[in-house]
């Protein structure tokens, strides 16, 4: 395990909504904070997101959604990570969610949900404290 390597983060937009302002802003903030960032672009299926996460060997997936379709796509990402033995990839979410959906998403395995108004440096600090580089995949 290489403790000194930079954290690798995938910012992903599941579903069909094109509201990518938040995703692109947080991707830049993570990059400026010294993380390595990959951004999927809009309109990704959970399958595409998990496949990219594994290929890019990321430590963290940040899901951004504003369409209201999180109830399907967020748990599906967790399920697919498990199926691919990659459940040690931390998953967080950002966007707008009905308040009562937040505990449901956390129950499903989303580690943290960041709501509108959260400061970028708070999210970066959370990542620093809560996400460690994954065990390197040995070929």
């Amino acid at each position: 395990m290489n403790k000194s390597r930079k954290l690798r983060i995938l910012i992903a937009k599941p579903g069909l909504d094109g509201h990518d302002r938040g995703a692109r802003v947080i991707a830049r903030a993570f990059r400026d904070a010294g993380f390595e960032v990959v951004y999927t672009g809009c309109h990704q299926t959970p399958e595409q997101i998990v496949s990219t996460a594994i290929q890019e060997d990321v430590d963290l997936i940040g899901l951004s959604i504003l369409s209201g379709a999180h109830a399907y796509s967020f748990p599906r990402v967790i399920e697919l990570l498990k199926e691919n033995n990659a459940e040690d990839i931390t998953v967080i979410g950002g966007g707008i969610f009905p308040l009562e959906d937040i505990p449901v998403l956390k129950e499903a395995g989303i580690k943290e949900i960041f709501e509108p108004g959260t400061k970028l440096h708070e999210i970066c600090a959370w990542v620093d404290q809560n996400v460690k580089p994954r065990q390197a995949m040995v070929a």
């Binding site: 910012i11 579903g15 069909l16 909504d17 094109g18 509201h19 990518d20 302002r21 995703a23 692109r24 802003v25 991707a27 830049r28 903030a29 990059r31 960032v37 951004y39 999927t40 672009g41 809009c42 309109h43 299926t45 369409s67 209201g68 379709a69 999180h70 109830a71 399907y72 796509s73 707008i96 009905p98 308040l99 009562e100 709501e115 509108p116 108004g117 400061k119 970028l120 440096h121």
Partner: protein
């Protein structure tokens, strides 16, 4: 440059007095300094403490400002403006299934709304039927799910389509949805020549900002041109493109960027139609615009006034339009969704009211006011009524509609209008140099300009340089609203079943023949004989679903996916 408004001696005196005032101002600041290190608009355009005739001394009233309804239309597109008729109160509405949205339409009309505006759900916006695996979890969430002409019939049931004008926010599949609208209206006995409304149909801003992506830029433009050509010949009261700055602004652009990129999109559509062989004065009068009205009051008014003047000059000078109607920037406005806060949501009513007032002073032809809960979800009936009432109060109680363009002649408003035009024109020159908007999009230029502005704004918010009440000043929490709208989770299954039954019922031979003709036209060179619209109208009438038509497009023209840059 025309004759100056002020004599040399008057200007000299003003200059001298201005300097005296500046000395007084500096002296006073030594006792109580300015509140901020730097005063700037929400777009971070710096503003001075005071504007005077000196700021507009080079302007000529007749040439640069003029009269309402007269070139260059700075003061409005009609001579009468709101003295004769208010703007169209057009609330963007779409939720759940077609019946749910139809019910909302009737509710709004019954409460005094004067035009319809349709919000489609994401699968519909992206050209997928509800049954597509890509549509899972999305049905009816951000708008209405429309798969077939039957859905379209239910959507507009018991609404007189020759009396009301209908706007439809639909982009890559615009031709298909418009075909469904026309076919349904004709089935109901209306005449296509008398149908009025708007399809957004602005593919360029999708690549730039909204990201409802389907086809690559060139075939997207071909389809847009097909609709303009068809509308010009067959549906003459229809606005064939709503050239939209709204989404560019929501993605984080400054007011100048919104103005510049949108006007350049307009330039591109005109060029495409001219290439098709259309005469500018035959189609340009049916191009309309769509602005965002953001939170910075004067900046928005200046942007809208500058936009009218720029478009008039571009149409006259660049495209040699002769008919004044071709030079009119008629526009719809929506208050800024991105200015609303999840915290203390009732404050959103105040934000929306201010933004609506700016749109009125900006001379809008049509207005959507956001609902206070729109920050969470599509609006509840309770919140949408407050939003509609906001427009009605501004229109009828507060007196701002009694005088045309009442802020004209304000040194600040005129100087800011000039500044908007000047900075947007610089962008337009740059886009010309880059070889046009498609080339610029391929270079990721407008996308990255907007991303830079969005990030800059976010950093200003975090440093407290830009204030959002309830968020970074007097921070508050988000309450649970009791009237929040929920979409029935069973809707998706019902909609899938309904569309499957619809497909089983149709005459398969007739359907296939219509689809073959659509394919033949798509594969042929762009021209009137290959215009997709007549074939689409036949196809949707023969039972083609939205996705079947869009899949054919994707098959013939290829697919564009988001490059995912940031």
């Amino acid at each position: 440059m025309g004759k100056r408004q002020f004599s040399e001696s008057a200007l000299e005196r003003m200059e001298k007095e201005y300097q005296e005032w500046q000395a007084e101002y500096r002296k006073a600041l030594q006792k109580v300094p300015e509140r901020l290190e730097r005063f700037s608009t929400v777009s971070d355009l710096e503003v001075k403490p005071l504007y005077t005739p000196l700021d507009i001394k080079d302007k000529n009233y007749s040439e640069d400002i003029g009269f309402p309804g007269m070139y260059p239309f700075t003061r409005g597109v009609q001579s009468t403006m709101y003295r004769a008729r208010h703007w169209t109160m057009r609330m963007f509405a779409g939720l759940g299934g077609a019946e749910d949205t139809n019910e909302r339409f009737h509710y709004l009309i019954n409460h005094g709304e004067t035009g319809l505006s349709t919000a489609f759900d994401f699968p519909t916006l992206m050209g997928y039927d509800t049954e597509s695996p890509l549509a899972r979890g999305e049905c009816g969430k951000c708008g209405v799910a429309i798969d077939t002409i039957d859905d379209m019939q239910r959507l507009f049931a018991n609404i007189n389509l020759e009396d009301v004008t209908t706007s439809m926010t639909i982009n890559p599949p615009a031709s298909v949805i418009w075909a469904m609208y026309i076919a349904n209206a004709e089935n109901e006995g209306y005449d296509r020549k008398r149908l009025g409304g708007t399809i957004q149909n602005d593919c360029l801003k999708e690549f730039i900002a909204q990201k409802t992506l389907m086809l690559p830029p060139d075939p997207s433009l071909r389809l847009v041109t097909d609709t303009v050509e068809f509308g010009t010949r067959e549906v003459p009261r229809w606005n064939t493109i709503s050239i939209s700055g709204y989404h560019i602004r929501e993605a984080g652009a400054t007011a100048v960027q919104e103005l510049a990129f949108t006007v350049y999109d307009g330039i591109t559509y005109v060029e495409e139609c001219l290439k098709r062989g259309l005469n500018v004065d035959d189609f340009a009068g049916r191009l309309s615009y769509f602005w965002n009205s953001h939170i910075d009051f004067f900046e928005e008014i200046a942007k809208m006034r500058a936009g009218r003047r720029m478009w008039a000059r571009i149409m006259k000078e660049r495209f040699k339009a002769k008919n004044p109607r071709s030079m009119l920037m008629r526009f719809h406005t929506q208050t800024a969704g991105c200015s609303l806060t999840a915290q203390e949501p009732y404050n959103n009513v105040v934000r929306t009211t201010t933004e609506a007032l700016a749109a009125i002073f900006g001379g809008t032809q049509s207005l959507h006011t956001n609902s206070l809960d729109e920050v969470y979800m599509i609006p509840s009936e309770h919140a949408v009524l407050i939003a509609l009432r906001t427009q009605q109060i501004l229109a009828e109680e507060v007196g701002v509609t009694n005088v045309i363009d009442p802020l004209a002649g304000s040194y600040f408003v005129e100087a800011l209008t000039d500044k908007m035009e000047e900075e947007a024109t610089a962008y337009i020159r740059k886009l010309d140099e880059m070889g046009g908007m498609v080339a610029a999009i391929e270079k990721d230029y407008p996308q990255m300009e907007i991303a830079d502005a969005a990030y800059h704004f976010q950093q200003q918010v975090e440093k407290g340089e830009k204030v959002i009440i309830g968020v970074n000043k007097y921070p508050s929490t988000r309450p649970e609203l009791e009237f929040i709208l929920r979409i029935d989770p069973e809707l998706e299954r019902r909609q899938v079943e309904r569309t499957q039954q619809f497909k089983q019922k149709r005459d398969q031979v007739k359907f296939q023949r219509a689809m073959d003709e659509l394919r033949r036209r798509c594969e042929g060179p762009p021209c009137w004989e290959n215009n997709v619209m007549p074939a689409l109208i036949d196809a949707v009438r023969a039972g083609a679903t939205e996705q079947e038509c869009c899949d054919l497009y994707r098959d013939v023209f290829g697919v564009y996916t988001d490059p995912g840059t940031f």
